[in-house]
Amino acid sequence: MFDSLHPLITMISLAIFGVALLGVLVKKNLFKIFLAFSVAESALFLFFIGNHYTPGLKAPIAADGITRFDPAFMVDPLPQAMILTTIVIGIAVSALGLSMVIRYYKLTGHMRIDKMDELGEEQ
């Protein structure tokens, strides 16, 4: 049906992305929203890495014997490095966000996004 798995990966990752977006947009719990962002990011990683992988190539690591670095059948290492970096960033953002949510919860007693009304004109 498909030449490669790329369309399938695209479809699946976009589906996940959509679900995550839905979570971001309709969930009222701040915790769930941050989780949904993580899921959306992961969906993008999946899309990127998945689309970048060409069937038949191997990891860009000289594994056997390690005497020679042969780039002929290796996949592009750059996306992997990028994703590594991005994952760490994602973790950092989630950690910071969750710590804020926890603190917010302790201060106000709720963590519903539709009840956040501290700011604005009238106080």
Binding site: A40, H52, Y104
Partner: protein
Amino acid sequence: MSLLLFILLPLLAIFLMPFYRAYLHYVSTVLSMALFGLALTCKAALPLVERVAVDLPLAITFELSSVSWLLVTLFTLSMSLFSLYHLRFSSNKALFVGTNMLLVGVIGLVLSRDIFNIYIFFEISSISAYLLTSLNQDAKAYGGAIRYMIIGAFASLFFLLSIMLIYLTIGVLDLQMIAQRFNLIDEQVQYLILLSLFIALGIKTELFGLNFWVPDVYQASRSAVSGLFSAMLSKSYLFLLFHLAYLLHVSTSQMAFLTLVAALTFAVAEFSALKSRETKRIFAFSTLGQIGLIALALSYGDTALTEAALFLIIVHALAKLMLFLALDLLERRLGSTKSEIFARFESLFLMAVFTVGALSLLGIPPFAGFAAKLSLLKGLAGLEAYGAMALILTVSLIEAAYLFRLLSGFRQGEQKMVVTLSPLERLIFGVMMFALLLLGLMPQPLLALCQEAAQAMLGGYHAAL
């Protein structure tokens, strides 16, 4: 000499923080002033291009063109003033880390010419902004920070999407190379990339439709920090958005769309400020308005207008920083930022500061804002964009209404609290006021720099039209 010093030095200072915990405010001041000096010395060698580690196409390129030099100088100057202002207060770790990281982020944004590297700085500046927003550690601050964070995360999703698409379809990350091959790819994908970039950067640039969160964030932050956001953060994204737009040669209709969005940003924000009673929100709306104005100027892709826009960026950054720092002073003394506080203090000097700032924002001579507005109007006149001229002049009147409403607060109120300023504060505000006046009276030197920068920023864009 290396451009990366602008990034590595603050980072080093942050990492080595445990060694001088009690002296962070001094370190921050010395550092930002040193960077400012460094920036000034770079002027002679422009344009500087530096590739990290290896050569093209692999390397991350940093470029200090006339325009990024202008912005870097502005950012380091703003940071110096900010740090000088905070010298009086005790050493604050969070403030130190947050502001210096923000500096790293915004400098990186304007220097880097590698899309993924830009993403890193995008995140650095965003996360430090979240951190700075939550600095007060009360429900308001967290409310604002969380709101900011959710929106920022949304923006970064789209930025990530566009980077991924660029790499998948073009296979390079260097902006120059992307620009060269951008036309070769599928038009639909081109459009999707541009649109994702627009959403991501538009949120950060605070353009209309994507900027509804801004007043809340400014309100949640400390006033001084809001000043930094206004002076550095939004400006760097503004640069980035239009740098990319010029570089990728967006079509005329897409630029016209940007013009429309910018005009809406300007008009809606200024209108919204009219009845506000919260000074921080008013200043936030005013910032949005000015950003709209700058974006409007940039969206024509014309040398004269770009020159005006760059000038406006500098002038607005100075004026807004001054206003926000003065507001911070008041907030610390009076414990509020509602517009009523203007009736509750007694200080001729602060009144002068607010007046000069407001007049400059409004573009009233002899202050610098006027020179900016004048060159803007001249540029628009040169393009025969009379509608935009009319819009600017009309909406300026609305701006005048709320700014003068604030100023008229000075003469109300009975029990006034005498606010005295330390000599250092007087010096800082005095220098800023003087700068605004000087730039208003003698804008030519800076305008000449801006013109040079405008040519550098536009690159070949104009020729393509």
